[in-house]
């Protein structure tokens, strides 16, 4: 984020803090798609993702006076959304208890192959194979390009946990893809870190 953008955003935050709904709407427009994509993959269905998105923005507006610019606004917003999601219990079932050196057993190779052919993405596979926190860390790192320290704050984990689990998640995902569809995985290769 450039300095000008950061200043503009800070001005919008200040105005929204004073109760300006118009300023807050600019912030919503800026972040709604990013947050929605994340919630869409984390939630069980589209309706839950939409509910969680709405609740997250309402909570952000209500508690905006308590926001401090120690972390980025996007970090604060994702933290709210994740906690809302956790409280509502609207998360897909995952396989967080699998050791990271084995490929995910579900979906099966055929299913996964079909998913790939149907342009179902790696994220769907990741959602099925990884735990909530691992998946969130992976998303925030690759899609949001969030610094590791801020990922730790968002998911309430130490930095060391984030680093180790990013590596484990990539490894597990890679193995799963190799098991499911060798030719697809070959194009990606074995992830060596």
């Amino acid at each position: 984020m450039s300095t000008t953008q950061a200043t503009d955003e800070q001005q919008l935050i200040d105005r929204a803090r004073e109760g300006s709904v118009d300023a807050f709407e600019q912030l919503v427009l800026k972040y709604q798609d990013r947050l929605y994509r994340f919630l869409l993959v984390r939630s069980a269905n589209r309706a839950d993702a939409e509910d969680a998105l709405q609740e997250a923005f309402v909570a952000a507006f209500k508690y905006l006076p308590s926001y401090r610019d120690r972390y980025r606004f996007s970090t604060w917003l994702f933290t709210i959304a994740i906690r809302h999601l956790g409280r509502l219990g609207r998360q897909q079932t995952t396989h967080s208890d699998l050791p990271d050196d084995v490929a995910c057993e579900r979906p099966g190779p055929e299913q996964l192959g079909m998913q790939m052919q149907n342009r179902q993405s790696l994220w769907q596979t990741a959602r099925t194979c990884l735990g909530d926190s691992q998946f969130t860390a992976l998303w925030l790192f690759y899609i949001e390009e969030m610094p590791i320290a801020e990922i730790g704050v968002t998911i309430r984990r130490p930095v060391s946990w984030v680093k180790v689990n990013l590596m484990r998640s990539r490894r597990r995902l890679s193995r799963t893809l190799q098991t499911a569809k060798p030719e697809q995985a070959d194009s990606l290769g074995e992830v060596t870190l």
Partner: protein, 129 residues
């Protein structure tokens, strides 16, 4: 560049260009969000409504206290003498003394006692010195 780095790059690229990363919020959903936001009140911000409620609440409380005190009967302290009746007694006593004929033989001792009692009464009620 090593093969592992190329592979990792491809892997990361495929993660960031997945279809899920292209989803967008519809106009209707955006309107729903903003409608809900407009109904929400920021926590910790003082609004005119939050001041209005204590104002008329205080008014009601003040009225209730006033009504309570006005409904009270005047407090009666048994130990406190009734000053108006004492003044009347003194007046009548003075009149009686004035009516006494000069030659009436009253024992001096009795007169002194009466005088001392009157002085004591006067000083007790704060009249004269």
């Amino acid at each position: 560049m090593s093969e592992s780095k190329i592979n990792r790059g491809l892997f990361e690229q495929s993660l960031s260009t997945a279809p899920e990363t292209q989803a967008k919020v519809s106009e209707k959903l955006h309107q729903d969000i903003m409608r809900a936001v407009r109904l929400a009140k920021p926590v910790g911000r003082v609004t005119s409504t939050t001041w209005t409620v204590p104002a008329w609440g205080t008014g009601i409380a003040a009225t209730a206290v006033a009504v309570f005190y006005l409904a009270q009967t005047p407090p009666v302290t048994p130990l406190q003498p009734d000053l108006s009746s004492t003044a009347a007694t003194l007046t009548s006593l003075g009149e009686k003394l004035a009516a006494l004929p000069g030659e009436t033989a009253l024992p001096e001792e009795e007169l002194r006692k009466e005088l001392a009692r009157i002085k004591s009464d006067l000083s007790r009620f704060g009249i004269g010195s």
